[in-house]
Amino acid sequence: MLLGMKKVGTNKVGTNTDGAGSMKKWTKSGSPMIWLTSGAVSVSLIAVLGLLGLIAWRGLVYFWPSTIYQFDVVNPHGQVEVVIGEVYETDMIPAQRLRENGHIISDDVEEVASLLVKTGNRELVELDFRWLLTTTIKSQQVLPNLAVFERNKNGNFYGTMSSVTVDGRKVTGDMDTLIETLDDSLERVETLQDQADSLQNDKINGLNFQLERLRLKERRFEIDNELTPDRAVDLKVQRKTLNDEYLLHEAQLFKFRSAMTRDFVTVKDMRGKFVNINLSNLLSFNLPNQMNVLTKAGHWFVNIGNFVMDDPREANTEGGVFPAIFGTIFMVMLMAVIVTPFGVVAAIYLHEYAKKGIVTKFIRIAVINLAGVPSVVYGVFGLGFFVYILGGSIDDLFYPEASPSPVFGSPGVLWSALTLAILTLPVVIVSTEEGLSRIPISLRQGSLALGATKAETLWKVVVPMASPAIMTGLILAVARAAGEVAPLMLVGVVKMAPTLPVDGNFPFFHLDRKFMHLGFHIYDVGFQSPNVEAARPLVFASSFLLVTVIVGLNMTAIRIRNILREKYRSLEH
């Protein structure tokens, strides 16, 4: 492409002499250049669509129940080993390189396929992923009874079910009986788990929160020198009541927990050993080799649902991304609430009130620059100004009792929303202004002629008509904010937040809390997790989710804008 551009310079207008032969003539006409520019568009299109396709494919395939293979593999010592697992990837390796490394490969072979197999059973084998050269594989079977067990610790387990022990009674028999027994037992454990969870979330967390609040209250009294003996006694009594209640619930919780560990399932793994998996660690199991396309599709939807609704496990490398989705949405909504009024007011000023002058010119340059300043600079500003200065002052004024641990003086969701609000301000301004400029001037004049003041005209006529444009700006702002990560890394995002920023404890919205974010989740899991290989499919899935949301939002915004343009085009005539 570069070469082509250079050629353009020498190809001056008016040197169109008759060339000999059609090739020369064709070249002279500039046609190849036009084709090359057309090729550039094709490359861009391939890039966009390819990228989206890649993310969609890799992200969605992750949820599809994959076949479990049993390989008989000859290891370097000449022994035959059984390997059970899913095939993750296939890679072609030049035979030459393998020969150099001491593999014996016949001369006519140029490339050897190598399979990346996920073998799971992390606590029992050294690596839960291994590369198998196809030349070392003696045989490969798809056994119908191979099952995959999803556990809440140590990842998946692959093997063949041999028995289920229910309440001390060992159930053996054919696969269908085992599956049925395990299903029943698992259902019981799930019920218990639900009860335990609701106890934990509703009661125990609430009590902890109240206890902490009591502690702060006492500290507050101490600071203000108002801790009279009456108050001290009163606080003590309250604390006692709460503690008693807490112990009661805790005992109940332990009862649930111990009841959950009653049953276990015995599985024969790839080493031929029997391993007991306690049902309290088991989340689900299935036999993908017995599934047909329809049941697989059913599982696919269930898996997607779990991914969206579950909490992450194992340092975010497994489980779902619910807190990240929630955090992203909550932060973005908060940001939208902040940015909309300011953006709209600024746009109204620029379009309706501002006179052509130096100040207006400066404001326009400011808008362009706010849009162009790197997002990480906003992060730096947010950290220094919002978190340390604003947040620090708020803490000094309103939360002296919490010292030395900061409340608003540390990164949190409010500061993230504020930082992103500045970042997305130009988006709202530009979009709103465009909407305002499309409203025919005759409408305003009509309103003014009927005796309305300028403010009334704005409020009753102009702004309602511009509302779709404001909406467009808002959607674009939200889409931009949802994808930003760099500033959030400084002002409030964490890899694992223990609590959501919204819960059942007064005042319900905890704007000082740190939160999880889908974009940061991708960065963190893809680049900071110890087992990148295992986490990669999950990152693709998260990416797909994020891209879907953002591209969807953008499409909506573009659609609204187009409709709007059509509408006002008809108004003008």
Binding site: M1, L2, G4, N11, V13, N16, S22, S31, P32, T37, S38, G39, A40, V41, S42, S44, L45, I46, A47, V48, I55, P94, Q96, R97, E111, V345, L350, Y353, V359, I363, R364, I365, A366, N369, L370, G372, S375, G379, F381, G384, I422, L425, R444, L448, A449, G451, T453, A455, L458, A482, G483, V485, A486, M489, G519, F527, V547, V551, L553, N554
Partner: protein
Amino acid sequence: MSQSADILKKQSRSDLGASDTLRAFKDRFARYSITLGGLMVLMTLLMIFGYLLYVVEPVFRDASIHITHQQKIDQGDKVVATGSDELNEVGYYYNDNGQLNFYPLIETSPAKSVVDLPLVGEQTITSFSHTNSDIVFGLNDGSVLLSQPSFTMSFTKYGRRISPQVRYPLGQQSLQIDPAKKALTKLTFQRDEEQVTTVALTQDHRLVIATLTAQENFMTEEVEWVSEVNELTSIPTTVNKILITPDQRLLFVLSHTQLYIYDLASDNFDAPRQVVEVSEAGAKVTDISLLSGGSSILVGNSNGVISQWFETKTQRGRRLTKIREFSVEGSVEKIEAEPFRKTFAVLNSEGDIRLFHSTSEADLLAAPLVHKATQLKFSPRNNALIFTTPNSIDFYTLDNEHPEVTWSALWQEVWYEGYPEADYVWQSTSASDDFEPKLSLVPISFGTIKAALYAMLFAVPIAIAGAIYTAYFMPPKLRKIVKPTVETMEALPTVILGFLAGLWLAPIIEDYLPFVFMILFVVPLAVVLFAYAHHCLPKTWRNRLNEEYSTLMLIPIILLASAACYGLSPVIEAQFMGGDARMFISNELGIDFDQRNALIVGIAMGFAVIPTIFSITEDAIFSVPQHLSNGSLALGATRWQTLVGVVLLTASPGIFSAVMMGLGRAVGETMIVLMATGNTPIMDWNIFEGMRTLSANIAVEMPESEVGSTHYRVLFLAAFVLFIFTFFFNTVAELVRQRLRDKYGSL
């Protein structure tokens, strides 16, 4: 608009009713609040600008001192050592009679008290050495006594109370180091947890080295000190000063203008490793001092020159080399180094105090003193200076927060200790304690420019060519779909591009390196060949495959060409590169290769920048008035000639502004660089190596930097530099665009 509002005002003034007053008020209120809201945008930008400067500014401030306390010394006392506690509330001094005096520096501190050192019999003090809070006295019987003033804090009803006392870490009894029991006239001392080394010059001119090694008694777990005494036999006839490094390895002996260096850890410790002439002709060496960390030695002379020396690797082994010089008025009288940073203070013969930072070559302070001083000492937290004058001890508070940063240290080559030469280095943290942060913004600014340039190299041709075709040649129906599709790419979160680049693209490119370079030639060639083939088709076929839809036709062609390159890549690799392109590049061509390199960043960031450039360029070309190109076509120019000669020329300011905007975006992009490179701050244009950019550097280091520290402020400076970079690009782009708009308005 404003005209009609004025008419309205006139009308409403004529019939003001009660509710009309309210309406008018509301109208005015709306006007003011909306104006305020509009101005807020400007204020926000100014606030960001101002706040960044506000945080950065203290870094460039000079140091300042002012006197806060003056302690009279008792008549006849000779002060040998001074100091203070960490909070600068209690000061102390030792006199030559072996008395330790504590005195209050603020009103609430305990009153003056005197402690006698446990000297027995005929013992008198003949020499002393002061390192950090250790004060060692050499006695007339060849023994030494180590004492340490210490301060305990207690909280009472009346607030914090500080009580001074004295500790003897090696016991109250003095330790015999000279077996011949001669008086020790010069002394130097260093200790750590495991070892204590004392080197002393005796009255009869011998250098005695005493080493105490800690050995834990594994029965009682008590620490016992085992002592070993050696003597240097070949020493210069005059010994002016002796110094030992904190690691207890090197001994410096000053004899007139010559510095003898002994390596105590080597077998051949007796012979000096090197003898260096450390002064210029005609000048006398007046004082030497070790900088913190002990790697550098400062030599002051009677011409007022202080030179810094440290050992560098040469062909002849490690040699002491002169690195840089500082100068003061008059002659140097006394040099004192800060305990933890590379700052040092100098007293000159004019009675001034001068403060320098060695690495940054910063001249921090030049101030006259109230009384001419003979000795000086930094307080434990480097926030005060204690001067000994003939009649008093003067306590000055010192404000010297960020000596290590100067404009030149940030942007010019700096010769750091242990480096073979001056260099640009960014290394802000390290595991070791006595580490000196190296904060040169050059490598990371270089990285920023490198990443942006490679991205532009990739993005500009594709984006501009694509925009030309879309705006000028593409049928409107197709354009309506293509433009939003390419613009969608702008909305793609960069974290996803970065993730794909780092984890998906980088391994592919590493394995199929020839593929990338083949594609550069093969794809354009395939396009041209296909175009010629299309040109040669019979007319009916050519009409059926209308040239207007060439973009769509080319998609499979480009995909096929790329697939062919992909397939051929291993073959090329096997034929010409010995089967492994990576090994070939690093071994045969001698080019360093990282998996996550500038090539990956260029491609990934290029994709992020393409939509920006594409969109603005497309707008610029599309808005070129139709009659201009019509005129050109009517005069017989081909479509391509019209484009190059008329349309592009007219749209060129717009294209320039698009490239500027793209550059602005590439410079500030964070996540892609963060994820697609190794983030090593190296300075090399090599496309197969990574880089560290300003933005990625901020994202990586900001969460870990301590608020208010030099590192924190320098990171803010990095953000400020980024802000200015992008401010420049964006403002230029916007001004060009505004002019363009005015110009088209007239056409």
